[in-house]
Amino acid sequence: MTLVHTSVPALAVPPRDAPLEPWQRPVAIDVERLNFFYGAKRALEDISVRISSHLVTAFIGPSGCGKSTFLRTLNRMNDIIPGTRVEGKVLIEGRDIYAPGTDVVALRRRVGMVFQKSNPFPKTIFENVAYGVRINGLTRSRAELEERVEESLQSAAIWDEVKDRLHDSALALSGGQQQRLCIARALAIRPEILLMDEPASALDPIATQRIEELIYSLKSSYTIVIVTHNMQQAARVSDRTAFFWLGRLIEYGATDRIFTNPAEKLTEDYVTGRFG
């Protein structure tokens, strides 16, 4: 397959707000020829991609194209599925996370994840956010922990809604609030990278909008990779877009270009709604 990095011709002096081109940005995740197998079935074929730090990268593509599977290879979440196998390299800060001896727990601390269906623990709101901080021993005192929880809830734009009921069950929150709580929970361990697997697909439009605004506000502090089957969402929130089809990466580049001037016919057919 061909990995297409074509892009709008680089200007000598880019406009002030224009995102830097991929090669001008520090690379957060460098994937080299990744193959992924469910048993004998190859679900991902030779994926190579460089994900730039402090940008939002969206993975789009039809159902079953491998975008979620690919996302889950980035924090080794697929490890827990029996009968799966990975070939190739995923370099995060220059180190291959599939190299033998990799500390998966430490990796997942640096690469946080938010899931498609919000999955708050059946604990209080406070305990949900404190969970990762506690198990990783990140704070030394109760005061420090409380501070961390508040800060995380604030970053996830849910503090005002829950500050008076931190010790109520998280399951009493609405779907959108639960998802923002899960984002707060992921932020509390201060990851460098945040993976989001269709974080708004189960939410109503207003809750979705809040999540999108949140993503926008988080990208200055985190490298965000988001899987979405909603193309408008990808266009709205992301700087880079990668289009997957049948386990292959068809095209990757600046979001504007992918949606307005795709290089590949498949990409064009997909983004214009001809299939998918």
Partner: protein
């Protein structure tokens, strides 16, 4: 007759049949309860709970020692069975695909099917003969062995019902597998596991056969776990087969107390579950 009419009639027939099946299933329960209550209530008084059995011919007295004994033996059974049952249930759920888990599951199902008298004889040989004494401990061990498969299977089933996304959530935050299981998965299933334990308790509290060769019986007040101990079930059995009218009445009262204990246990199970679930949901 058109299709719609036929479908409606068939639907009514099937629903009626289901309703009748429920009635048939409830009849024995209602009959047993009615019989035990009507026969037992007349002999049940405050003294039954506080006094010791009296010698033959002397009317009155109670089963205080047997009530205490039943509680002690059942509690001992729970102490043996809860850790083993819960831990093996966790193992079977966590390593559900492995051969060992399959073997454990098969062993539990087999154990569940072993007649209780056989378990009694088994415990007799391992915990009574070597010490040359019947004991409350041996009785508790016998009941515990009966509880293990019950607790293990409910624990396993309930852990499997916990959505995998919860476990993934914990792993994604840097939890190890054991940590995710013990801090997220097990707590999420806890209300159900607790219900399973209480129902298992209610189920074995009514066992007689495993106690005949283990806890035996004791005419006196005893809370010494190394000594034979009286239990309600064995006491009811002994009194019911005796030729004395007064003992028969006492046996009915004992049966009623036993049914009440089981009923309270089941009720507690329901209440505890509902309460814990409400707390988790935060309603």
């Amino acid at each position: 007759m058109n299709r719609d009419t036929r479908r409606r009639i068939l639907s009514h027939v099937v629903i009626t049949l289901c309703g009748m099946a429920i009635l048939v299933a409830l009849v024995p329960l209602v009959l047993v309860l009615f019989h035990v209550i009507s026969q037992g209530i007349s002999s049940l008084n405050f003294a039954f709970f506080t006094e010791m059995p009296r010698p033959v011919g002397e009317p009155g007295g109670g089963m205080a020692n047997a009530i205490a004994g039943s509680l002690i033996v059942t509690l001992l059974g729970a102490v043996f069975a809860i850790p083993i049952g819960v831990m093996s249930g966790i193992y079977a759920a966590e390593y559900s695909g492995t051969r060992i888990a399959g073997a454990v599951r098969f062993a539990a199902d087999t154990l569940n099917g072993v007649p209780s008298i056989v378990i009694g004889v088994f415990v007799y040989t391992i915990a009574v003969l070597p010490f040359r004494s019947f004991s409350a401990l041996a009785g508790g061990l016998a009941l515990g062995i009966m509880m293990i498969p019950l607790i293990m299977r409910t624990t396993e089933e309930l852990l499997r019902l916990v959505p995998p996304t919860l476990r993934e959530g914990a792993l994604a935050l840097g939890a190890t597998r054991a940590r995710a299981v013990f801090t997220v998965v097990v707590p999420a299933a806890l209300p159900g596991i607790l219900t399973g334990i209480l129902l298992a308790l209610a189920r074995i509290a009514g066992e007689t056969a495993p106690l005949l060769f283990t806890a035996f019986n004791n005419r006196f007040w005893s809370t010494d776990v190394t000594q034979p101990i009286s239990t309600l079930t064995v006491q009811v059995f002994t009194y019911a087969i005796a030729p004395y009218e007064d003992w028969h009445r006492q046996a009915w009262a004992g049966a009623l107390v036993l049914v009440m204990m089981v009923f309270i246990c089941s009720l507690l199970a329901r209440l505890a579950t509902a309460r814990m679930e409400r707390m988790q949901r935060g309603g």
